[in-house]
Amino acid sequence: MIIHAKEPVLEVHDLTVSYSRKPVLWGIDFTLPSGCIAGVVGPNGAGKSTLLKTIMGLIPPSSGYVKLFGHPLEEVRHRVSYVPQRESVDWDFPVSVLDVVLMGRYGKMGLLRNPDRQDKAMAMDCLDKMGMSAFAKRQISQLSGGQQQRVFLARALAQEADIYFMDEPFAGVDAATEQAIITLLRDMAAANKTIIVVHHDLQSARDYFDWIILLNMRLVAGGPTGEVFTDEMIQQAYGGRLNLLAQVGDMMEKRAFPTREP
């Protein structure tokens, strides 16, 4: 069940993604309107993070394309922000909180320029929004899980983008941080920013998101939460019935078959 947005800021068209020839996402096709908080929801191994990484150009798709604001990613990269999973980096890395947030400015700086006072003021501002300005000089190894996530979000804010992709920002954070994050997301959406969040808690998904992408290797449903996030659709995404798809995927990997005919 797909409900398309009228004037989409994100268009994912027939996207198939494979890991060493084994398709993990099949023919994903959906659109998002601007100013919404969209949740990408589905069981473990459904390909939620893979979808985000493919949209961000970190994994090349086997077929299909992605358009942001009607353009390919390369042309609008400065308008796009990405928050990787918290566990994807080594938090023993010797940098301070402010350093990490300043990384959000690197995309706009070009090769040779270094962060100046304006960048620093901007980064402090973003930390302030996340309630982290007191920690600016702190080394990242000394942060709690929730604080780490806030730093990552502050870095995303520093990018001043129009569309944000966040990979599991609510995973392993305390209740206060979760509340702070969702408040921030709502403020951003009110300012007509679009936010796509990978999420695995069905309960809170209904409250948090006004658009839902329900995923399980394929797109089960995509559209406004009220219309598509029904028990029937959830049952489809989380129930079995996909045995065949997984078997065909295995077969393609084993026989080194191309995902699409060349």
Partner: protein
């Protein structure tokens, strides 16, 4: 004066290796330095056969070519044949070192190179290898100039690419998302490591190159939480190790390279003990 030149060479090599080593250690790629420093042996032998002497330019070309071949082979087998990366490193560098030894055996009479010199280096002979201008002016030991130039290049590289090196080491996914190519910076770093290894091995040997690449950065990493501090401490440690290492060698009348490597170990042990002590005190305070 001899002591001065040796310590200076040691310090220059330690700084060049250490500055790059910081990024290798943080990227969990320390063993690449080990691999490159061993894999260049066949290149050196071939360069020697080519030029008939230890002429630096051809040595440099030979060694950097084989260093490059080694890195490319490692990447090739890792990606194309899906060989696990530690095994790819192990298979490739031992193979190239073996080829080097065989070449030495074949051309035993013609090549004044042996595996001792690759492993141990000859830092003690550094002051003898003088650079003399056509006009007859003695400029000082040649290795000092070579390693000094490399150090300046490395410092420039890190100054210009600091931001990118930091980000691609810390969070490669985010780096590519903001349009900084992780592959480009990976290869630039590898090239820098190859050049440094190649230009330093002759004076200090493969073992000391590895010690300098990993020892001071790992020690500095335990002492600070800040990348810039880590780079500075690494350089200071390089100076300290060269000084005390030479002192130790003079006192024991033993291998200079060996003593410098030993001193990196001592420094690390002290930092490690301090780190353990500090964290146990921290835990005690929590209780």
């Amino acid at each position: 004066m001899i002591a001065f030149w040796i310590i200076l060479t040691g310090f220059l090599v330690a700084s060049a290796c250490g500055l790059l080593g910081c990024f290798l250690v943080l990227r969990k790629m320390s063993m690449v330095g080990d691999a490159i420093s061993h894999a260049i042996l066949p290149g050196i032998v071939i360069a020697f056969l080519w030029s008939g002497s230890r002429e630096p330019v051809s040595m440099f070309i030979g060694a950097s070519t084989t260093g490059l071949v080694a890195t490319l082979l490692i990447e090739f087998f890792h990606h194309k044949a899906r060989l696990q990366s530690d095994a790819a490193i192990g298979v490739v560098f031992t193979f190239m070192f073996a080829i080097g030894i065989i070449l030495i055996s074949i051309f035993a009479g013609q090549v004044d190179v042996d595996q001792d010199c690759v492993l141990y280096g000859e830092i003690a002979y550094t002051p003898i290898d003088l650079w003399i201008l056509d006009s007859g002016i003695i400029m000082g030991p040649r290795p000092v100039y070579i390693v000094g130039t490399v150090l300046i290049l490395i410092i420039l590289f890190i100054l210009l690419g600091y931001k990118q090196l930091k980000l691609t080491s810390f969070d490669p996914a985010f780096a590519s998302a903001v349009g900084i190519s992780t592959a480009v910076w990976h290869y630039l770093l590898m090239a820098a490591v190859s050049i440094t290894t190649v230009s330093s091995f002759e004076s200090v040997g493969a073992i000391l190159v590895i010690a300098f690449l990993i020892g001071p950065p790992a020690t500095a990493y335990l002492l600070t939480d800040d990348l810039k501090q880590m780079l500075k401490i690494t350089v200071i440690l390089g100076l300290f190790v060269s000084l005390t290492g030479y002192g130790l060698a003079y006192w024991l009348n033993a291998s200079i390279a060996g003593c410098m490597a030993t001193m990196t170990g001592v420094c690390f042990a002290v930092a490690f003990a301090r780190h353990r002590w500090a964290s146990s005190r921290y835990r005690a305070r929590l209780v």
